[in-house]
């Protein structure tokens, strides 16, 4: 009896095993089980905006993407399902590595430039070839940073210049210079400034110190000794003046520094600040909360120079383990997102973003917000992250010195010395 039962059990396991094997083998056909059901899925990971706040960033140029871009793409490709997964900036690289090790990585990733570079450097994403016809959809100045020979490691999607956001009930005329900003704060305007280096760099540009800071951040440790051209005395002087301004500003009653722009946007939203620097990540929630009371302008300059903020980019990267069909769909989706109509739609429906397609006209006359973004973009710069890990580490190092300066633990001279000790100085002229 027991033997018969054992044989019956074995036969049952044989049947189950055979069924599973056949099912899995069938799924190996191009398109797999989903294709058998008439669906073709592609997977997209979206990096949520950086920020330590628990408040999730819902914009990222992606809410628009999920709502209109996907539906537009599916109208042209009815059998395609687009699956979006969100990850915070500090977890997306680890999440990608985890899933790539299983062959379950995405077909596409939308992220910041630094994240895209980190993913590429770790071999988690692959290059893509762009035909001349496709390259026409990208403004030339967006292409070079991502070119690797005749291929591209990422494809820009949207630009998000840094601007000033303020409550129009409290600020009738936005300050045009740093001095005007501090004067207004002395009269009661509550100002919020970021402490993250990339977000604070616009203040350094007024003192001519931004190039020095960018060089400090971008130079890999091995090349410190042979830094070319070497930092000059003038570079050091400009850096010291900026640090002095920073220290003096931190003593103002109505100026507060926040660790990231997430916190600043939240403070403006809650009415705790009247004027903050911000970017496209936060304009949608701010706009929802403040409505027409949300004002936008270019960031204030100084010493006869306009502010030169950093423009953040959202870029596409391509996953490693897509099937041929998934890769083709992913590429089609990316180029669909770059066409004039979609770029214009995203610009208009996602506040704070600008198109990367040069053929899209920005309606600066009809929208003061787009005018501010465009003006900010004109003067902005993009960081060249040749070594993203080193850049992130150096930024944190500098931010730590800035934090101590703002809290009064370091004098500007000490802070300057510490920052310059991170990188060598040019030999002093005799």
């Amino acid at each position: 009896m027991n033997q018969r039962r054992g044989e019956h059990g074995t036969r049952r396991w044989w049947r189950i095993g055979t069924a599973v094997t056949v099912l899995l083998a069938l799924s190996g056909c191009e398109g797999g089980i989903a294709n058998l059901l008439g669906r073709e899925p592609i997977y997209i990971y979206v990096e949520k905006a950086a920020g330590s706040s628990s408040r999730p960033a819902r914009n990222d140029g992606v809410s628009t993407l999920t709502q209109s871009l996907i539906s537009g793409f599916r109208k042209l490709n009815p059998g395609v399902d687009v699956h979006i997964t969100h990850y915070p900036a500090d977890r997306i690289v680890a999440a990608m590595a985890f899933r790539q090790s299983r062959g379950l990585g995405p077909d596409l990733v939308v992220s910041s430039v630094v994240t895209a570079l980190r993913l590429h450097q770790r071999g988690l994403t692959t290059d893509v070839a762009l035909s001349p016809a496709k390259l026409d959809r990208l403004a030339p100045y967006f292409r070079d940073d991502f070119r690797r020979g005749d291929r591209y490691m990422a494809v820009p999607l949207l630009a998000m210049p840094q601007v000033a956001c303020f409550d129009r009930r409290r600020v009738s005329t936005p300050p045009a210079t740093l001095d005007a900003l501090l004067e207004l704060s002395a009269k009661g305007l509550r100002v919020g400034l970021p402490l993250r280096l990339a977000d604070l760099l616009w203040t350094a540009s007024s003192f001519g110190a931004s190039d020095t800071l960018i060089r400090l951040v971008e130079t890999p440790p091995g090349q410190r000794a042979s830094l070319q051209p070497p930092l000059t005395t003038n570079d050091r002087e400009q850096l010291r003046k900026w640090l002095e301004w920073l220290a003096a500003t931190s003593l103002q009653n109505n100026v507060d520094f926040a660790e990231d722009d997430t916190e600043l946007a939240g403070q403006l939203e809650r009415g705790e600040r009247d004027w903050v620097s911000c970017n496209g990540n936060w304009l949608e929630p701010l706009n929802r909360k403040l409505g027409n009371n949300l004002g936008m302008s270019v960031l204030p300059g100084g010493n006869g120079r306009p502010a030169e903020p950093i423009t953040a980019l959202r870029v596409w990267s391509f996953g490693r383990h897509s099937t041929g069909r998934q890769r083709a769909l992913a590429e089609a989706f990316v180029f669909f997102s770059l066409n004039k109509v979609n770029q214009k739609d995203m610009m208009l429906s996602s506040p704070g973003t600008l198109p990367v397609n040069p053929d899209v006209l920005i309606p600066t006359k009809s929208s003061h917000r787009l005018a501010a973004l465009a003006a900010s973009w004109e003067n902005s710069q993009m960081l060249n992250f040749s070594n993203p890990e080193q850049t992130v580490a150096a930024s944190l190092e500098i931010e730590s010195v800035l934090q101590e300066t703002i809290q009064g633990e370091l004098t500007p001279a000490q802070a300057s010395a510490m920052l310059l000790a991170i990188r060598p100085l040019a030999p002093q002229a005799p």
């Binding site: 899995l24 799924s27 059901l37 399902d81 699956h83 899933r99 790539q100 299983r102």
Partner: protein, 408 residues
Amino acid sequence: MNTLLYEITGWAGYLSRPVVLVQCLSAAALLTLFLTVVRPRLRHRGRRLALLGAVGLLLALRLNALALEWLGQPHGLALYFAQIYGIWLFLAVLREVLLLRCSARGVEQLFSQIVQPLYVLLVAGSLVNQLDSLEDVADIPLLPVFGDTLTTGNLFLLLTIPYFLVAVSAYPVSWLARVLQGLLHFSEGTREATTLVLRYLLIGAGVLWLMHRVGLNPNAIAAIAGGLSVGIGFGIKEVFSNFISGLWLLFEGSVRPGEILFIDGDPCEVRSLGLRAAVLWRDRDNAELVIPNQDFFTTTTVTYTGTDRLRRSQVEVAAAYRHDPAQVIPLLEDVARLSPRVLSQPPPKALLLSYGDSGINYGLRFWIEDPMNNASIKSEVSVAVWERFAKEGIEMPFPQRVIHQAEG
């Protein structure tokens, strides 16, 4: 709900990738081979060989992952299958070890109620985590509830947390009650009562936390409470009455686990006091009585364990008229004193109860420690009395009728 189904069906698309398929197929082939070829041959060769076979499958799964890694292929999924099977195997071994040291019932209860459901959750959660972001899946809206949106994560919590609150709470609460008993030196009954009250508190707090966690607004909770009030008033009055009665009895201390009650003339031990009913054990026929809690409110309850566990018992015996009561009474008291399960304090007491038709009736009263042993101790004492009477030549009278025939 459509979004959730959309996501789940989307996961199938990964199977179209050769790198995923190789990992799944190789693991499935190894498992099939084990279940159809290896395991049947080891089935009747003892547990050790069966265990070795299972360990062999684990090694094969690990080797499969290593081979894929060596070939430069993604192998995380193959490793995941090995890990999941490894945990299963570890739990199986742990169960066997526990069975050697603990009661089978306790181990089976632990595994069926907690360990296996937890393992299922672990497999389900980790599988989703392989394929997607758990946070994103948990955030998928399912349906509107009281003006709010019920998400996948909240539905999952609503389905699992109450179960684990009830199943798991017994263990830490029981441990805590034992610690309190050690510190405060209270009785077993009080410990049982403390355990139950603490458990109710823990479950109540857990349910409140869950309602807060899933975002049920206060108005919704008030609406639920209102609905329950009507339900209690009409439909589930008895259930609620029993629940409140159970709590009341616990605090009052008259019906607690370990107490001895007289039910229909039989001493019964309270085994447990549940939400609805108390379970009592009757020694006479080893029966378990399930009595609704509120019955103890409406009927008189006789208990031997209200203030202490002592019981006074009595054996009745008769001696012939020719024996002097002054000789019989000390004899009876001596018999009781010598009986091993009769307490020396309070001392046994023999009394002359009445003058009967055939002899003088005596009552031997003595105290015993455990009320549940009354019948057996009475039997022991009665046998001892018979033996002592026989030894001392004291006659136990029985009804006698002397018939005198009238003359003439």
